[in-house]
């Protein structure tokens, strides 16, 4: 059974949590005791209907303020697939939580309030979805009940959104636009009679039919080493296994490989998946490799196939999204983590800060505040074996860590 990871996006109060709650409700994924609890909580808030946003807004502070602060992970199945939904906050202050949710998803649901049309957060979130190369974006024009289910309103928003996508073209992205009412359940699991002018499928059908692109396996083989398994017991005296999760591509027994950054070469002797031996393993699998020669391999190293080496980089450009309340300081040392390798690094210059609404590139700025996105030049103390994000997404990301606070302060996407 395949798993589809979906994240919500869009401005505050556009109805993201209500949409997810309603989807669970309509697919009968909520047990009676949870429904009863929501009914009681709704009553306490003085609402005379079931406030389904309470299904995901589980923190005390969220319920008090009626907003989402951090991502809630929600699970449900249909006969077609298993869904993992990251219901993300819309408030600009919590953009880093939205990025957290979006970074793992294969589909982004961007909500728009039909009365308001495209607003600043729509631009920002679309930009982020685009930056992350999320393969599927579904634009949900919500609250259609408040605009009389009007086709004109929907078409106007659709036109605006199409204009936006033309300004930010992305050939990898499949886009769908759908009119909805999360509150009343229109076009969620069944086609709405109140919008018979809409010819597409209801949202759930769209989600069930989205192709999960298995492109990762067609990319060159990349595996960051997590851990070296050395049992040192009698039965496995000489066993030395290199454990990790394949980030892209496939590997076969007998393949010639290169260890990066050292450049040493060897051959794959055996591939283990836990206690079983495999001839071949593929992207996303957690495996253990043994090799023919006695070469030095440890955590932080990469194994790639011979002839498919990445360029080793110490100076490069990248888009970064700043995630911390302490602004970026250029020429301060941060730790950069790529795969399992952690190296010292500095942002040597900010090329430009990206205005996500106007799409203008603002130059001559020397700091970056929380939630801002910029193109920067970095240098690292040791080389990293990364690919450009565009050609190999799983091997084209990194995070920046603050040595003093230990916080994750930025996420980066390596440029070509």
């Amino acid at each position: 059974m395949d798993v589809l990871r979906v994240a919500t996006a869009g401005s505050v109060d556009d109805g993201k949590s209500t949409l997810i709650g309603r989807l669970l409700y309509e697919t009968k994924s909520i047990t009676q005791d949870k429904l009863d609890a929501i009914e009681r909580a709704s009553q306490r808030k003085g609402i005379d209907f079931l406030d389904l946003s309470l299904l995901t807004d589980g923190l005390i502070a969220e319920r008090e303020q009626g907003i989402t602060i951090d991502v809630a992970h929600i699970y449900f199945n249909t006969p077609k697939r298993k869904f993992i939904i990251a219901d993300s906050p819309g408030h600009v202050e919590y953009t880093r939580n939205m990025v957290t949710g979006a970074s793992k998803s294969e589909a982004s649901l961007i909500l728009i309030d039909a009365r308001k049309g495209i607003v600043e957060q729509t631009y920002r979130h679309y930009f982020i979805a685009n930056l992350l190369r999320i393969p599927n974006v579904i634009v949900c024009v919500n609250k259609m009940d408040l605009v009389d289910y009007s086709q004109e309103v929907f078409n106007a928003i659709k036109k605006d959104f199409t204009a936006l996508t033309e300004k930010l073209p992305n050939k990898h992205l499949a886009l769908t636009i759908i009119p909805l009412s999360s509150l009343h359940g229109d076009n969620l699991t069944e086609s709405s009679e109140r919008m018979s002018w809409y010819e597409g499928d209801p949202l759930l059908t769209i989600l069930e039919d989205l192709p999960v692109k298995k492109l990762l396996k067609d990319l060159p083989f990349r595996m960051p080493i997590q851990y070296v398994i050395r049992p040192r017991n009698e039965a496995n005296h000489d066993f030395r296994g290199y454990a990790g999760r394949i980030s892209s591509g496939e590997i076969n027994e007998g393949d010639s490989v290169v260890v990066l950054p050292s450049g040493r070469t060897t051959k794959i002797r055996k591939i283990y998946k836990y206690d079983t031996e495999l001839e071949c393993a593929t992207a996303k699998e957690s495996i253990t490799l043994t090799v023919e020669d006695d070469v030095d391999i440890s955590r932080g190293d990469f194994i790639v196939r011979a002839g498919e080496e990445t360029e080793l980089r110490t100076n490069f450009q990248a888009y970064i999204c700043w995630l911390n309340s302490q602004p970026l300081a250029t020429n301060k040392t941060y730790l950069l983590q790529h795969g399992t390798l952690v190296v010292k690094s500095k942002v040597s210059s900010i090329e430009f800060v990206q205005d996500t609404a106007s799409l203008l590139k603002i130059e001559s700025i020397n700091t970056l505040k929380m939630n801002e996105i910029a193109c920067v030049s970095l240098k690292t103390g040791k080389p990293i074996a990364a690919d450009p994000y565009d050609t190999n997404p799983p091997n084209g990301t990194f995070i920046l860590l603050d040595e003093h606070t230990n916080n994750t302060v930025a996420v980066g996407f390596i440029g070509s």
Partner: protein
Amino acid sequence: MKEYLREFPRELEDEAVYIIREAASQFERPAILFSGGKDSITLVRLAQKAFYPGKVPFPLVHIDTGHNFIETIEFRDWLVSQTGMELVVGHVQDDINAKRATEETGKFSSRNTLQTTTLLRTIEEYNLDACLGGARRDEEKARAKERIFSVRDDFGQWDAKNQRPELFDYLNGRIKPGENVRVFPISNWTELDVWNYIREEKLEIPSIYFSHTREVIDRDGVLWPYSDFIYKEPSEVVVHRQVRFRTVGDMSCTAALASDASTVDQIINEIIDATVSERGSRLDDKRSEAAMETRKVIGYF
């Protein structure tokens, strides 16, 4: 019927093994919090897989309320002897004796909240910098908000409004001395995923998960397992019922479920048809709307 609910998505196992290996690499003294329940049993199996053919590089830590089901303790000891893993037990009774914790009294008293004191003391005593737990996001609405690496301060507190961003597969376990991290490898599994895994992997589980005859007190339809640890009104009667447990906490906070399910397949059928959620039988969650969040904030897992 509903065959699609009976299949375990293997990518969840790959993800869990990745997380467990990160924990082993990033921390100096990690441990598995072992409750004797199905989720921690699953965790032990995943850890064995993660380090095969090597040994699991961390001990099991059991926080013993003293009010456990005998079957759970027997199972725990059996598992320890089977796996050769080290076992550390933190006794809630020790904290009560030392006056670090005060026993609750009355009809609904439980040692569940006291566990946190003992957990934090054990973490300190053994200098643990990470605890791997079997908590899942689908269990409860506050748990749905958890990160996979959840950083806790000197007092074990969870700052829900200020969690570290967790991007792609990156797990940042860097901490200062005194802080520790709760690691949740099966965050993205559901109750059914766990049961399907138990079936596919043929894992042994404590007998109380299966239907058996037990003495219970029926309080407004909630079946409380009768034991020395439970307060009984003179007017209440103890009856025999055919029951099983859906989650295993300690005896004072886990209600029984009337059930005839005596195989894993039958349990899976029962869960597919259930109209009550897993933690619907957890009396510790029913104390208030935000009972779980409140406990997590002060150091629960």
